[in-house]
């Protein structure tokens, strides 16, 4: 489409929207937050700011094949049991057991809502949701995202599609909304809100993906590549406290084309094997729990096989009958349909040949690990008026779809309570003008400008992080000197963002995506430097500190001074609420 590129700031129109509750990011957590807010108070003005189109945005755009956390109470499962399991999955934590428990208590009713709205759940012979693992239930989730989006709209949430958030709107230390720009209409959008929930998802694309070098498919990533960490970046710039960013999430995926492996293959009885045909988890990780070992061991395992000369590694799909293989592909179609196409493009009969697996690039995703905003039990961040939910909120790993939805609801409850007590201050036009200039400057540099594109800087950053801050090509390993090198060059890159330019609005979005990723990357490296131990091999592997340091059995925290840009690191203590051995589920 030919779009008109403005020549000056004056040509760019601004739209100011006043609302009660602003939700930044209409994914899973954002939709549930909107629905909860409108359920509790139908007259409340609820506005969703959405970078893409709400029907297919966020991590679940392609669908899902399971809801990975649901409590089969008929089998004796309890919220406490789920928290224990979650804690063990991250090697005993630390995790925020207060957050995890409050989430678990409303988990089932949240998942049941999806069924009520029309999401098909597979049932067992007794009519219960069909288990695929201890807490996983099977769905036909191709329509998961449209179903959630339709419900949010039906409840009366006002949705602004194609508006990319760029910064929080602040009144002193308090958040009073957010600012962004229209990716299609080129307008500046100012949302003034009594309370704001940030639910933009996690950060993908901080690191180079393994397929980048040898193919024209740069986005063979596990997480949606359009989730770039904007929610974290806005908070970092606003001085919010971030928690546990060093607990990165790295997934075991199918090699060459990022397809699902972990819970899916376990459910189908397809075990990890090495080049010699040995069952890796059972042979080498029996003491860690074998096939049920913590998630990072199930990542480290295949990669260690490669390093020690026993690669390639596979999931053994040859145990499948043709019927089971068909069923497995059906699950794949619900979550990662193009992986079925990949198999077809190799003429690969999975019942005859196993499927090769490999590690992914690392991600910052608070719905899976503990990374994200530090929040209180009401899900308010350390910035007054700003709440966080889903992948964006930290401390509470293994939330996945059901848990992120539950947390969206809890954040909405917290926000509703908060906004009753506050009034909107007058609009700070100086702040808006300053942000307008920051946002649109890369678009106004003129046709002959000699600078840097968003994509160029993104690739520079991804290679830097990959090689010096523990990416896949370095088998996730890092040391102090490499992290220092990363930090030095991240500073250079951040300084060079003044040379970024865009020729159209899509390019402008790319520019802001890399600016946001850089802000997340810098804080991430500080976190990785602070944890001078190896607590979660693969997720966080320090070659210079290979053991666990008991003194670091705590949360590593950061906050960036909004004025000086200085990043302060500190810790918070871990509090055990659920008794028992933390490493046992």
């Amino acid at each position: 489409m030919t779009e008109k590129i403005p020549k000056s700031l004056e040509e760019i129109p601004a739209e100011v929207i006043e609302t009660d509750l602003l939700i930044v990011g209409g994914g899973n957590a954002g939709c549930f937050a909107a629905i909860e807010a409108k359920t509790k108070n139908p007259s409340l003005r609820v506005t969703i700011m959405e970078k893409a189109h709400i029907s297919r945005s966020g991590a679940t755009a392609a669908g899902m094949d399971a809801i990975n956390t649901y409590l089969r109470t008929d089998k004796g499962e309890t919220p406490e049991g789920l928290v224990k399991w979650s804690r063990a999955q991250v090697g005993g934590g630390p995790i925020r057991e207060d957050l995890a428990l409050s989430n678990a208590k409303i988990l089932n009713e949240t998942v049941d809502m999806l069924e009520e709205w029309g999401l098909p759940f597979l049932k067992d012979e007794e009519g219960h949701k069909q288990l695929r693992g201890r807490f996983d239930v099977s769905i036909h989730g191709e329509q998961l995202k449209p179903i959630m989006a339709e419900k949010a709209m039906e409840m009366g949430a006002q949705v602004f599609n194609r508006v990319a958030a760029t910064n929080l709107l602040m009144d002193g230390d308090r958040c009073v909304g957010a600012i962004g720009f229209g990716v299609r209409d080129g307008k500046l959008y100012v949302f003034r809100a009594k309370a704001t929930i940030v639910s933009t998802g996690g950060a993908c694309g901080i690191y180079k993906s393994p397929t980048t070098d040898y193919s024209s498919a740069h986005h063979q990533t596990w997480m949606s590549p359009f989730n770039v960490g904007t929610g974290y970046a806005m908070g970092i710039r606003g001085g919010a406290e971030m928690s546990s960013l060093e607990q990165r999430w790295v997934a075991t995926r199918t090699k060459d084309f990022s397809g699902p492996v972990d819970t899916l293959s376990v459910a189908f009885g397809c075990m990890i094997i090495n080049a010699k045909g040995e069952k890796v988890m059972q042979v080498r990780y029996a003491d860690k729990g074998g096939d049920k070992a913590a998630r990072f061991y199930r990542l480290t395992a295949p990669m260690t096989e490669w390093l020690e000369g026993r690669g390639p590694t596979y999931i053994d799909t040859t145990v499948l009958t043709p019927e089971a293989a068909h069923e497995l592909k059906e699950d794949l179609l619900n979550e990662r349909p193009s992986f079925v196409l990949f198999l077809a493009s190799r003429g690969h009969d999975i019942t005859k040949e196993p499927v090769e697996i490999y590690g992914s690039d690392p991600y910052i995703v608070g719905g899976h690990t503990g990374s994200g905003y530090w929040v209180d039990i009401k899900r308010m961040t350390t910035v007054s008026g700003l709440f966080a939910a889903g992948e964006t909120a930290g401390g509470n790993p293994n939330k996945f779809v059901g848990g992120c939805g539950a947390e969206g609801r809890l954040a909405a409850r917290g926000a509703l309570e908060y906004l009753e007590k506050v009034k909107l201050p007058p609009l700070d036009t100086k702040q808006v003008e300053k942000e307008k200039e920051r946002v649109f400057a890369p678009l106004l540099r003129g046709p002959e400008y000699d600078g840097v594109t968003g994509i160029e800087m993104e690739e520079r950053m991804q290679r830097l992080m990959d090689e010096y801050a523990g990416g896949i090509h370095q088998f996730y390993r890092m040391n102090e000197e490499r992290l220092d090198h990363a930090l030095k060059n991240l500073k250079m890159l951040k300084d060079q963002t003044k040379y970024l330019y865009a020729k159209d609005l899509h390019g402008l979005m790319n520019v802001h995506e890399v600016i946001d990723r850089l802000d997340v990357a810098e804080v991430l490296v500080h976190h990785l430097k602070y944890r001078k131990e190896t607590r979660w091999p693969g997720w966080q592997t320090r070659m210079d500190y290979p053991e666990i340091d008991p003194k670091l059995d705590c949360f590593v925290e950061s906050s960036r001074d909004p004025k000086s840009g200085e990043i302060k690191m500190f810790t918070r203590p871990y509090e055990q609420i659920i008794p028992g051995d933390r490493t046992k589920p």
Binding site: A52, G58, A61, F121, S216, A217, S338
Partner: protein, 108 residues
């Protein structure tokens, strides 16, 4: 790898202000070319979520494997029904596999 457009079939969703694939693409990647046919403006940035393929009313879009990753030519075609989806997968040897199930409502 991004969808390939069948230019015979794509009618640029005549009645719509924006084509359905433009409306839906999570990456803001689908757009109209000067020939008024939909195309992916940055093929490298596609996530292969197939949202555009499912949304296309003319079945004009088809996700393809990049050759660096898979051989020529395999196909995967979703057909959206009322509360159902039917997938047809054809591998490089011409073997056809079909999947049909409910995507809305009770899965009985």
């Amino acid at each position: 790898m991004p969808p390939k457009t069948d230019k015979e079939k794509c009618d640029s969703c005549k009645a719509e202000k924006e084509t359905l694939c433009e409306q839906i693409c999570p990456g803001d990647l689908m757009t109209l070319g000067e020939d008024k046919k939909a195309f992916c403006r940055m093929p490298r940035d596609c996530w292969d979520c197939m949202s555009c393929v499912k949304a296309c009313p003319k079945s004009a879009l088809e996700t393809r494997m990049p050759y660096q990753l898979g051989y020529h030519v395999a196909r995967l075609i979703p057909m959206m029904g009322t509360n159902t989806i039917t997938w047809t997968c054809i591998d490089i040897n011409g073997k056809v596999e079909r999947f049909h199930y409910k995507n809305r409502g009770s899965d009985e």
